[in-house]
Symmetry: C2
């Protein structure tokens, strides 16, 4: 009577598994700046809750498996903003981007088949892929190079007869790397040459800073039959707890497979879909405000971190994450120190150790990811606490 091998081999989330120590620190009266998880402090737009509160059907009934029409149509209109044109049959609503990715791997990978992904990558991809006995193959990137990965040699060196797909997360989690449209075209060319699917996770689509344009694989029409996009309200609308996402593709065979899976689990919560439809109907100005806010948070965090001698980090271009090399021997030990020993005026800070974002053993032990999801003063203070912590930690170790 054993559990399955796939589950026995899985890790606990490196983003969440230090929560216990943070709770303990808080119980002792410490204030913990939580930069470990992509949970913004930005208010969810009020229209989400209003739409839900106004829902007055007396029976909370199953929705259609593909999603409620109001939401599908709102998303279709939102995509038009970027000159991307979809029909209802090209979309399927999911329980967040997480379910979207699980269904995609289920629909694409036979056991043992491979999907390429630039590492460090959002760690839960491993769970989504391992669940169906698929295999992620990492394309290793470096802090020194700003985690760039869209290079022909790097990608082609990893392709085997078992390769079925390339995963693209842009703007990227955890690195904040944003693909240019030219880089997307290159990935598309390689995918065509090797007959691969492109799994494009675009949940941070609007969060591209400085002079970067919003880019999407949906803009490249010659790739339409092989592109599978993932969308979500979590980050875009600061509605992480709504768990509304979507799979978008013009490949009919693929979408038919996804619908079969979706019918199995019946549907996504009705009320949350009604709320999400209102979010997608908001004015375009909302995206500009959010982008400006997160950009300012990035700048605050980056500026402070770069004051620390020995930190290696290129300014990230998008999403709301920053991964950096720290001048400590072991970032997990350092995090434990921050949560259990260190404080500055009763305050400490928490981040996600980057090792869990790498598949290649040994990599990332001196890197951390922070999410710049708190206001800029808090981000600045958080980064300062990291600086003070590094000093205290290395002093303790006699360095």
């Amino acid at each position: 009577m054993e559990v399955s091998k796939r589950v026995a081999a899985m890790q606990f989330s490196p983003i969440r598994r230090f929560n216990t120590y943070a709770f303990e620190a808080e119980a002792k009266g410490k204030k913990v700046y939580r930069l470990n998880i992509g949970q913004p402090d930005v208010e969810t737009p009020a229209c989400f809750k209003e739409a839900i509160n106004n829902y007055d059907k007396k029976v909370i009934a199953y929705a259609e498996s593909g999603g409620v029409t109001e939401l599908l149509d709102a998303m279709i209109d939102y995509m038009k903003m970027y000159d991307m044109h979809y029909e209802r049959k090209d979309l399927l609503i999911t329980d967040g981007g997480s379910e979207a990715l699980t269904l995609i791997f289920t629909a694409l990978l036979n056991p043992g088949e491979e999907a390429l992904i630039a590492e460090p990558f959002y760690t839960n991809y491993r769970t989504f892929c391992n669940q169906v006995n698929g295999k992620l193959v990492p394309l290793t990137t470096k802090a020194e190079e700003g985690y760039a990965w869209a290079k022909r040699e790097l990608i082609e060196a990893a392709i085997t007869p078992n390769t079925k797909a390339i995963c693209c997360i842009s703007p990227g989690n955890p690195t904040g790397r944003v693909l240019t449209l030219d880089e997307m075209k290159l990935v598309g060319e390689i995918a065509k040459e090797h007959d691969l699917w492109i799994i494009s996770d675009e949940v941070y689509r609007e969060f591209a800073y400085d002079d970067r344009e919003v880019t999407s694989f949906g803009m490249l029409e010659d790739l339409a039959d092989r592109v599978v996009m993932v969308d979500s309200v979590s980050k875009r609308f600061s509605a992480c707890g709504a768990r509304i996402g979507a799979i978008i593709s013009k490949n009919e065979e693929f979408m038919s497979g996804i619908l079969k899976l979706a019918q199995g689990r019946l549907c996504v919560p009705t009320l949350e879909q009604i709320g999400a439809a209102a979010l997608y109907r908001m004015d375009k100005s909302y995206y500009d405000e959010m982008k400006a806010e997160y950009c300012a948070r990035r700048d605050a965090a980056y500026e402070e971190l770069m004051k620390i001698p020995g930190v290696v980090c290129q300014k990230p271009g998008g999403a709301f994450y920053l991964t950096a090399k720290l001048p400590v021997d072991n970032v997990e030990d350092f995090l434990m120190f921050l949560l259990t020993e260190f404080d500055d005026n009763g305050e400490t800070v928490m981040f996600a150790p980057a090792e869990g974002f790498y598949m290649t053993p040994g990599l990332g032990r001196d890197e951390m990811r922070i999410a710049y999801v708190l206001d800029r003063d808090k981000m600045r203070r958080g980064a300062q606490l990291i600086a003070l912590g590094i000093e205290a930690y290395n002093k303790k170790l006699g360095k």
Copy 2:
């Protein structure tokens, strides 16, 4: 560039795939009594929506992966009603019973490993199990025997070295079969002898009619380490669109595996959990009212169906389904006839053909499942429409 074999081999839901024809019939002005899907017309208790409407946090944030405390505690208290005692760590909240089952198969079955299940069974089990390349092995039952399956010979004949679990759905969908506590003990004995997990789907727990007691594998303490229960608010509280379910088990290794999977998908919607907590806090009288209502609906439907010559059906003991053999050559053809050709005073009826609930090819072609989810007058009229339809259908075929 192909989809995965598992998805290519999957069917569309036999419960949902005739919807298109029903919509077309309705578009032509026909009234369709929809007895095909377990979507009750009973109002969701108002406390669900009230709790959600009263939620006033400004950020709809991620919940803990295992579920929000209010809901876990409400469920723990609900279980005490049946003298079953659990702690928070024994429960994990899921996106409906559907996600619960998907996670359970993922956590228990390696590719190729088997789970036994009495057929006909709730067809989506196939999707949940095939998703992770597990294999369901059917224990075939018969309409003439009231679909009884808890028999030592039947179960043991199906056990192989690859058998890992026995699935028990009681009260059962689609047959309405209810296991007695003695039958559960027998299943438990066999599970112990062959070192198997017991996956017990108890989402219809209270819907056990006549003189039947509520039974649960949670009542058998000597099985605690091998029992994995599935729960859901969908049927119990007529809240199908809420998508709140749970996995309950005292096996710590198993629950640890489930938590790893759950952390991957982050969490279940926050608002729906708040609403569900209110549902589980309702007075016990609610269950009695619901039971009386569904029992009356069953009686109405059963009484009318038994007036049809040639129908084979033992009165079902629980849940809100009834599976019966009909005096027609092919139930799917008959259903198409009902939706596209037949009407009585502008009305027709829809059920789920039972063939999709069987794994063994060829079985169930003359059986249908109805869900007695409409009020008793409608159930009576629905059954009468089936009777009139059979007459018209067989007349058309010259029988």
